[in-house]
């Protein structure tokens, strides 16, 4: 089944599912209120903050190679090993080499989109390495054998009862549907994991170039534990996640938290400058940083698309997107969902199978209006559509149809002729369209405006 067919089928199911639609709407309206409130209460001028953030990320784009080198130099001086991964395969190979070197049998990981991108869990399973998700939402979907539903709240589609049942089955826990009790069950289960894991794997929210550090933000503390207990820490980060200076965090930490969860700042903002240093009481002996390219540098060379690399993965565009709200995260069938995912997935994975994501949008631009770093996401969707067309991915019917349409529409005479013909088509062929498509078509009047104008002109 093609990805397009799968998308159409699943999106249809969700579009018809009134209960799902209302559930998601409720979750998102709570988020909306929190976020809108925080934008007003924390920032003197949210638009000004966005402006600064956008300028900083644009600067990063302009100087990306130099900043990455600076980061590498500084953090390597403290004993971290920086590895550059061209693509998913290379990143996977680095991990397997490290796991072998350290004879690792068990890995604990915190929430990271890059690990989804490189199919990390599947890789571990295929290589007999135990991998355990430590983020509560991610743990839930892992136990359920599902993919994350949303970039920030992976299990937002699951009810308390469903989770209780899941924990009972997979963890042998006593049955409960109380959120606090369920959280404590997960906590106990995971504490055993942190202290017995050989490697802790995380992503990172930011790469700080000048001071040579990684930044990780979270609320639960599982990321901190993942970086504190196991003897080896691996961080897998996209190469675009750079900020120039540590001081930029005074803007970006509140900005990210406000857009992502409506918080002032996230509960734990950790700055990691390397593995355990001389004189420190604990911490991983070895730290590896896998800088992941996987299509980013290629996208970087396409200048009209470069802006999407400013993305700080806050999830705001997903929450704002009325399409996402209707079809949910799983329908996209990719790690990166919603508007940003619809821009980068066809670019990273090819227009051949994925261009439909860029077309599945009404171009309402809500994404662009909430993006904290001022990316004009909806315009990049348009660019993707143009590229898809140029690559011949828009299909014979649409290509022919729109060619005819543009020929007709460039002449009033032709339009009038087609309009007359169109009335005939409308009357005689309408019954052949599917019911749902037929309902969409309104009554077409006998006389167009152009025809009515004569009468009107005479009246006045």
């Amino acid at each position: 089944m093609s990805e397009f067919t799968r998308f159409i089928n699943q999106s249809r199911l969700f579009s018809r599912d009134e209960e799902h639609r209302l559930k998601i709407l409720k979750a998102i309206s709570t988020y909306d209120d929190k976020v809108d409130q925080m934008k007003i209460s924390q920032f003197r001028d949210w638009q000004q903050a966005r402006g600064y953030a956008s300028k900083i990320k644009q600067y990063v784009l302009d100087h990306l190679p130099t900043l990455l080198e600076e980061f590498e130099e500084k953090i390597s001086a403290r004993g971290a090993e920086v590895l550059w991964a061209r693509d998913k395969k290379e990143a996977q190979k680095y991990f397997l080499d490290i796991a072998k070197r350290h004879q690792a049998k068990r890995v604990v990981k915190s929430k990271s989109m890059t690990t989804e991108e490189i199919e990390f869990n599947e890789l571990c399973e295929d290589n007999d390495i135990d991998v355990i998700e430590s983020d509560l939402g991610e743990l839930i979907v892992q136990l359920a054998g599902e993919k994350p539903y949303h970039i920030v709240t992976p299990a937002m589609h699951k009810s308390k009862a469903e989770i209780g049942h899941l924990f009972q089955e997979s963890l042998g826990a006593p049955e409960t549907d109380d959120a606090e009790e369920l959280t404590m069950i997960a906590r106990e289960h995971l504490r055993k994991t942190y202290v017995t894991s050989d490697i802790g794997v995380t992503g990172a929210n930011f790469i700080v170039a000048h001071e040579g550090a990684l930044v990780m933000t979270e609320n639960e503390g599982n990321g901190r534990l993942t970086m504190s207990c196991p003897p080896v820490h691996i961080a897998i980060v996209g190469i675009e996640k750079v900020l120039p200076r540590l001081s930029d965090l005074s803007l970006f930490l509140p900005l990210l938290a406000t857009s992502g969860t409506g918080q002032q700042v996230t509960g734990y903002n950790s700055i990691i400058k390397g593995p355990r240093q001389e004189g420190e009481l604990d911490g991983p002996e070895k730290m590896y940083i896998i800088l992941l390219d996987n299509g980013r540098s290629e996208l970087y060379t396409k200048h009209e698309f470069r802006d999407i690399l400013c993305c700080i993965r806050c999830g705001a565009c997903l929450n704002a997107c009325p399409v996402y709200r209707t079809i949910g995260g799983h329908t996209y069938h990719t790690p990166y969902q919603g508007p940003v995912g619809s821009v980068i997935t066809p670019q990273f994975r090819g227009m051949n199978h994925w261009s439909h994501l860029s077309f599945a949008s009404s171009l309402c631009a809500a994404c662009s209006s909430v993006c904290p770093v001022h990316i004009d996401i909806h315009q990049l969707l348009l660019e993707n559509r143009w590229e898809a067309h140029q690559e011949g991915k828009t299909g014979f019917s649409w290509n022919t149809g729109l060619k005819i349409w543009s020929w007709v529409m460039s002449s009033r005479g032709r339009l009038n002729t087609m309009s007359t013909l169109g009335h005939i088509v409308y009357r005689w062929f309408l019954p052949f369209l599917s019911r749902s498509k037929r309902k969409r078509i309104p009554k077409i009047p006998k006389r167009s405006f152009e025809k009515l104008w004569n009468d009107y002109e005479q009246q006045i």
């Binding site: 348009l382 460039s410 339009l415 749902s436």
Partner: protein, 240 residues
């Protein structure tokens, strides 16, 4: 002298919107001109990724309107196409200067009324609980926010019930409503339900695409709602 820019959707499907706009402009004392050679701004092709086809149609548009003084359009999305996207479409083209000039002369209907200080001249009434649906293009491409509300507030007997926050998409999106019809319909339902939950009996919008889409879904699902274009409501209120 005001030139009417009649979107293809209005020309073919909702000509009454165009007539009502002409009546309103006449009421405000403007001399109106309609160039019947106009067809479409080219947006459907542009949004579908077919830029060459869009440019062909846009070239016709430019030819028709290049000498106009002021152009008024009952559609935020069509206005935005000309203002914001023609420069992109003609970026490497000899018509770029013409296009940029054209962009300064084209206005969406409510935008025009406000900029010409015409709201104070409105003397009319419409009885109903009205919610205004701001089209996404009006809001986010043209920055139109309170203009339509100001117009509606001037009308006697009209109870304006406005949802909080930014306007959410009705789901039309041009060819999106055809290619992804069920997602599009569900989005329309979400939008309609938001209005009905506020007790609205009339939804007014400034985009014919939004109007068509919401009207069809409303009819299909038997919502108790009247859906009007801003020009229709204003013409009714002014008894034109």
């Amino acid at each position: 002298m005001v030139s009417l820019f009649i979107p293809c959707l209005v020309d073919q499907i909702y000509p009454e919107i165009g007539i009502d706009m002409a009546k309103c402009l006449d009421y405000f004392g403007y001399q109106i001109v309609y160039d019947r050679q106009q067809t479409c701004c080219g947006q459907p092709a542009f949004n579908a990724g077919h830029r060459d086809e869009a440019r062909k149609v846009a070239t016709k548009f430019i030819d028709v309107f290049k000498s106009s003084d002021v152009i008024v359009c009952p559609s935020g999305s069509c206005t935005a196409m000309v203002k914001n996207y023609y420069p992109l479409l003609f970026s490497d083209h000899s018509l770029l200067d013409t296009v940029q000039e054209l962009g300064t002369k084209v206005f969406e209907f409510s935008e025009f009324l406000i900029s010409e200080n015409l709201v104070q001249k409105i003397q009319g009434s419409y009885s109903g609980k009205v919610g205004f649906h701001n089209s996404c293009h009006s809001q986010r491409e043209l920055g139109i926010d309170l203009e339509p509300q100001k117009i509606l507030q001037k009308i006697d007997d009209l109870e304006l019930i406005q949802p909080q926050g930014e306007s959410v998409c009705c789901g039309f999106g041009g060819l999106f409503s055809f290619k992804f019809d069920e997602i599009s319909a569900a989005m329309a339902r979400t939008r309609l339900e938001m209005f009905t939950s506020l007790g609205v009996d009339t939804i007014v919008t400034n985009d014919p695409g939004c109007l068509m889409h919401m009207r069809q879904e409303s009819i299909a699902r038997h919502y108790e709602l009247k859906l009007l274009h801003l020009t229709e409501l204003l013409a009714q209120a002014l008894k034109l």
